[in-house]
């Protein structure tokens, strides 16, 4: 273990954990609590990532007086210019981060609503497959769409904290941003689940027909949840872009969606803390393999394959021991619980 950079490992793991945990929390709200089979999580994640990459690369060039029709950001010249111009103005960098987050939320959210509203009346399997194929359509579109770099994607995207000279400090600052957004996502999803809305979501997961007969506008409620979940997934995509400083279509394969599904299955369907746990375990495995295997000099086994074997094995073992995942779903906490407890206490007196 010579030269193993434990701090670097922790920063890398926690950043990746933060991004994936945001995806897992929102997927758990959509699929675990509301029962929508979202097999297209990667669509909204990818859209968010591309929104921020495109916005940042183009605006940095344009605002520095570069003619993007002559030197587009995906050309060699553009990539070099992005590196030169990218980190001159901290305020611009942070401004672009905020703008990216807002626009990514709006675009991914609206896409989530529009894509699902017409199909939510059909069965869960169809919803899953429609969203799954939407992801592939998006990827193939991006592969051939020149303004976002087609199959090469966009590179050398200036980061919000690129102006911080010390690389470690820069990484830690970024980690702070990621964990901050994760905290906000957790509070939001936790409050949504533990509210009358969360109760209604579980009700329509349990029996859609009965919910419909009790006056619930089932498609609208589900599409609203997908608006929220997809919008937040778009923000996670923004975080990914700035973390990797590049995007390309092959980052957004269906496997990303199933990786997030693995996290919520492992952690526990409908349990938000379980999503955090699932995300931490799976990203840990991923990081360990990425960090450790090259150092051990093992070339025979690619970490890419080993990752899936380990994740699959973990899921099988956990589900054999506890079919509901590591942490099962908890009852909803609303003031109604206090009222009934007061009632019971009053009776026993």
């Amino acid at each position: 273990m010579i030269g193993f950079d434990i701090v670097g490992f922790m920063i890398s793991w926690l950043t990746l954990f933060g991004i994936y945990a945001i995806l897992a929390l929102t997927l758990n709200l959509e699929s675990g609590t509301a029962g929508i089979t979202n097999f297209g999580k990667v669509v909204f994640y990818g859209v968010g990532a591309y929104v921020s990459a495109t916005l940042t690369a183009y605006l940095i060039l344009i605002l520095n007086g570069v003619d993007v029709s002559e030197t587009p950001p995906y050309g060699i010249r553009g990539i070099i210019l992005l590196g030169e111009l990218g980190n001159k103005n901290p305020l611009l960098n942070i401004g672009l981060l905020v703008l990216s987050l807002v626009i990514a939320f709006a675009v991914s959210g609206v896409l989530g609503y529009l894509l699902t509203y017409p199909i939510l009346r059909v069965g869960p399997a169809f919803v899953g497959f429609t969203l799954l194929s939407s992801g592939e359509l998006l990827r193939i579109f991006l592969q051939h769409y020149e303004p976002v770099g087609a199959s090469k994607g966009l590179m050398a995207i200036p980061t919000p904290f690129g102006w911080i000279a010390d690389s470690r400090l820069r990484e830690v600052t970024y980690l702070g941003l990621v964990l901050g957004l994760l905290a906000v996502t957790y509070v939001v999803t936790h409050r949504l689940v533990n509210s009358p809305l969360g109760r209604t979501l579980r009700a329509l997961r349990d029996d859609e027909i009965a919910a419909l007969c009790l006056g619930k506008h089932v498609p609208r409620i589900k599409a609203t949840i997908l608006f929220i979940g997809s919008g937040v997934a778009g923000m996670a995509g923004v975080l990914l872009t700035y973390y990797l400083t590049s995007v390309n279509p092959n980052m957004f394969v269906p496997a990303v969606t199933f990786n997030v599904w693995a996290m919520i299955i492992l952690g526990g369907f409908g349990n938000l803390k379980g999503s955090l746990l699932g995300a931490s375990v799976i990203t840990f495995v991923d990081r360990v393999l990425t960090f450790v295997t090259p150092q051990l000099g093992i070339a025979a086994i690619s970490p890419d394959y080993l990752r899936w074997v380990i994740v699959g094995l973990l899921i099988v073992v956990v589900l054999l021991v506890n079919p509901r995942g590591l942490l099962p779903e908890k009852p909803i906490r609303t003031p109604a619980v206090d009222v009934i407890l007061e009632e019971f206490r009053g009776e026993s007196k």
């Binding site: 997961r205 009965a210 609203t224």
Partner: protein, 256 residues
Amino acid sequence: MSSMLEVRDVAKYFGGVKALDGVSLTVPEKGLIGLIGPNGSGKTTLFNVITGFYVPDRGSVLFRESNDLVRIDGLNPNEVFKRGIVRTFQIPRLFNSLTVLENLLVTPLGQRGENPVRALLRNSWSAQERELAKKAIELLKAFNMLRYANSKISELSAAHIKMLETIRGLMTPAKLYLLDEPAAGVDYLMAKELFTYVRRLRDEHNLTFFIIEHRLEILMEYVDYVYVLHNGKLLSEGKPQEVISDPKVIEAYIGV
């Protein structure tokens, strides 16, 4: 007595099958009306038309709204519920991952905390939530089910499940109840108790009941009026004693 629900010449076809073929009937306000008929006679299809699951191929369904009768056929089931029609199912449909209390709390319309933005601000809905919880507790008390408030549905008996499915509609200003075989799968004494409760609901909450039931011996004791469906058509109607002695009804049931 003025009518709560009017079904006028309703027909519903599935390909060549005439599930309903020109049915007209009236359910009066505060009535306790039975709907009987052999298997496949169209009873549940009629309920599905009334509650908006099917759009009738012909005819109309009218429902009382203050002093007028308003057409409700073609509305979605959630809109039909909002007008005051509560339905229960042959096989009860409750929310199995929720407690008994939560099952009641799902029902009320206009819950502030169901709005995603307000759901984030606990203070904006917690007072309403406490009020609704108290209302639900009162209901559970009235039907001797308070001790099950925190139980899961899987821990209830068949009769309690039917009861819960029926009383959850009382969390809203319901007007008409459509009960699909409330006594199925419940022993004789519990079934009679259920019907006693139904009568009590009718009297105490000014509700109207329209009930499908195969167990005629129980149903006939409680209802004021009965409609008989056979092959999608109204075969007979009248007071329980008249209907039960109608040779056409006996023939349809026994199938000579």
